[in-house]
């Protein structure tokens, strides 16, 4: 069953007489238990999409179904079973972490909310500072507090909007692990937005690339990577680096980095070209001291897709 279903969603804003299209007829769906990523640069329409899905923004046209229902028609059920966490919005800053969570637990009608709050504080390592005011928290603590709020009602659908922005790598990694663990344990659907490619790659089952309000492509991370046929090859030879350069030239490969005995070049995987070139290097008798083949990253895919547009 699709827990998130979006069809032909459009949202425009009027600014100084001009109409700006933030979301331009996008369609996607996410199944139960799936982590679906929205990836794109700033202004691509990711947050606008989430804001529409959370009911904070009114759409111009299109249909939305959450948990199989249209939110406008089943407001109570949908709102009670969805939640959101974002790095861009805080909880009440003069209240403590615990006070904020108590308020939201009651808003969502959570039963045994004291127990639930303690579980979340434990999970996100916030128990020691639970009585600290939000205004005095670091950005990492703040993000974890917002995530606690996001999970307070055991949501079936969770919207995570760039929730690791501004975190140091260690905290960001811990946060991603917590999200992944929670999702596995509770089988909830997560709509995840980020402009950090590795983060999306690590977490998401499927990814939608957004650019200028449109979804350019939806696929799994592996399938997306197959779009790029080029590999970067790094070679270090013990001697005859000049001869190797010339040999590569005859094979139609342009070396675009060379320092000392190290060479770096791009070669296509089409028609097994990469394997053939490497095999020939060995057959020519070049003595290699290092060989490293690097596959494409989501950054490469993103640049390719964005530029193609």
């Amino acid at each position: 069953m699709n827990y998130i279903e979006v069809r032909n969603l459009v949202k425009t804003f009027k600014e100084r007489g001009k109409t700006l299209t933030a979301v331009d007829g996008i369609s996607f769906s996410a199944k139960k238990g799936e982590i679906f990523g929205l990836l794109g640069p700033n202004g691509a329409g990711k947050s606008t999409t989430i804001n529409i899905l959370t009911g904070l923004l009114e759409k111009d046209s299109g249909t939305i179904k959450l948990l199989g229902f249209e939110p406008e028609k089943n407001w109570e059920y949908v709102k009670n079973h969805c939640n959101v966490a974002t790095a861009y919005s805080w909880l009440s800053d003069v209240l403590t972490i615990r006070q904020n969570l108590k308020v939201y637990a009651r808003l969502y009608g959570v039963k045994n909310h004291e127990q639930k709050i303690n579980e979340l504080l434990e999970l996100f390592e916030l128990k020691e500072i639970a009585d600290r005011k939000v205004v005095r928290l670091s950005s990492g603590e703040n993000t974890r507090t917002v995530l606690c709020k996001g999970l307070i009602n055991d949501p079936k659908v969770l919207f995570l909007d760039e929730c690791t922005v501004g975190l140091d790598p260690d905290i960001a990694d811990k946060t991603r692990t917590l999200i992944k663990d929670y999702q596995k344990k509770n089988d909830c659907t997560i709509l995840f937005t980020s402009h950090y490619m590795y983060e999306v790659e690590q977490l998401c089952d499927r990814i939608a690339f957004m650019s200028e309000g449109k979804i350019v492509r939806i696929d799994t991370s592996d399938n997306l990577k197959r779009m790029i046929k080029k590999r970067t090859v790094e070679i270090a030879v013990k001697k005859d680096v000049g001869a190797l350069k010339n040999f590569l030239k005859t094979e139609g490969v342009d070396v675009w980095f060379g320092k000392g005995n190290n060479l770096r070049f791009e070669v296509t995987t089409e028609k097994d070209k990469m394997y053939k070139v490497i095999s020939k290097i060995f057959h020519q008798g070049f003595m290699l001291s290092n060989l490293h083949i690097q596959g494409p990253t989501l950054d490469d895919i993103f640049i390719k897709i964005s530029r193609k547009k």
């Binding site: 804001n51 923004l57 009114e58 709102k79 909880l91 009440s92 209240l95 009651r106 808003l107």
Partner: protein, 261 residues
């Protein structure tokens, strides 16, 4: 509307009240300062004339609190959510606008009553002025009418906040001050120049304070004036509530609610 969601926000506004010194000052400090200033002024003027100025001034101070608190609390509690960028989380939760406003209105009324409970014995203690001695019925009616008017003004400010964001927050602090000269709190409407008297008579509070003064002076109370105050306050409340709903929808269309600024 769900009671548990209203209770959740009442809890939040309770936390806000007890954890911020300026929210406690709203209840105690400024009203008590007002009572001192107008009490001593009334004490002095009373010695110069036969008119019961002290009762007139203190009655005005104590009852105006209901307009002031009712209107400002709606605006300030909404602003608190703007300031902490919390509107996003609040309105992505199952809360409805009606539940949000009900909780603010109830908390505002509780805070008004708290101020009343402080000022009432203080008036007796310091100036031997017991507002309930004037007429408990009229005081209760005045509290109702002035609170209703205060809510209407509060909803108007809230509507502007949802439409234009916190850049116009100055109106939250200034509207009651702008209205106060025309509310005839401390002086009769007849003391105003004709153009100002017209404005005063169009506003509900002036009729309430005129009724209060009539009782203090022992002259007949203008019942029609009180009816006008009720109808006008109710009409204003309905109109501003409607404007607020429109403004809230507007904030959902423009993205102000999501951005929270």
């Amino acid at each position: 509307m769900k009671l548990y969601r209203i209770n959740a926000l009442l809890l939040k506004y309770y936390y806000l009240t007890v954890s911020r010194i300026d929210r406690l000052f709203d209840i105690v400090y400024w009203p008590v300062i007002d009572l001192f200033i107008w009490g001593f002024t009334g004490f002095y003027i009373q010695g110069l004339s036969d008119v019961n100025v002290l009762s007139m001034l203190l009655g005005g101070v104590i009852l105006w609190v209901f307009v002031w608190r009712s209107s400002q609390d709606i605006a300030v509690f909404i602003l608190e959510d703007f300031w902490s960028r919390n509107l996003y989380h609040l309105f992505s939760s199952p809360i409805r606008l009606s539940e949000h406003l009900t909780s603010i209105i109830v908390m505002g009324f509780i805070r008004s009553l708290a101020t009343f409970v402080i000022l009432w014995p203080l008036g007796i203690l310091m100036y031997s002025f017991n507002i309930l001695q004037i007429s408990p019925l009229l005081v209760a009616l005045s509290v109702f009418l002035l609170t209703l008017f205060g809510w209407a003004i509060g909803l108007l400010i809230a509507a502007f906040l949802f439409r234009y964001g916190q850049r116009i927050q100055i109106i939250a602090w200034s509207v009651t001050f702008v209205l106060s000269p025309f509310a005839a709190i401390y002086y009769p409407v007849s003391a105003l120049p004709p153009w100002a008297a017209k404005i005063a008579l169009a506003l509900p509070p002036a009729h309430v304070f005129e009724a209060l003064r009539a009782l203090i002076y022992g002259t007949p109370v203008n019942v029609r004036g009180l009816w006008y105050a009720f109808i006008a306050s109710l009409a204003l409340f309905i109109a501003t509530a409607y404007f607020l709903v429109i403004s809230f929808r507007h904030s959902k269309r423009t993205g102000l609610l999501a951005k929270g600024d």
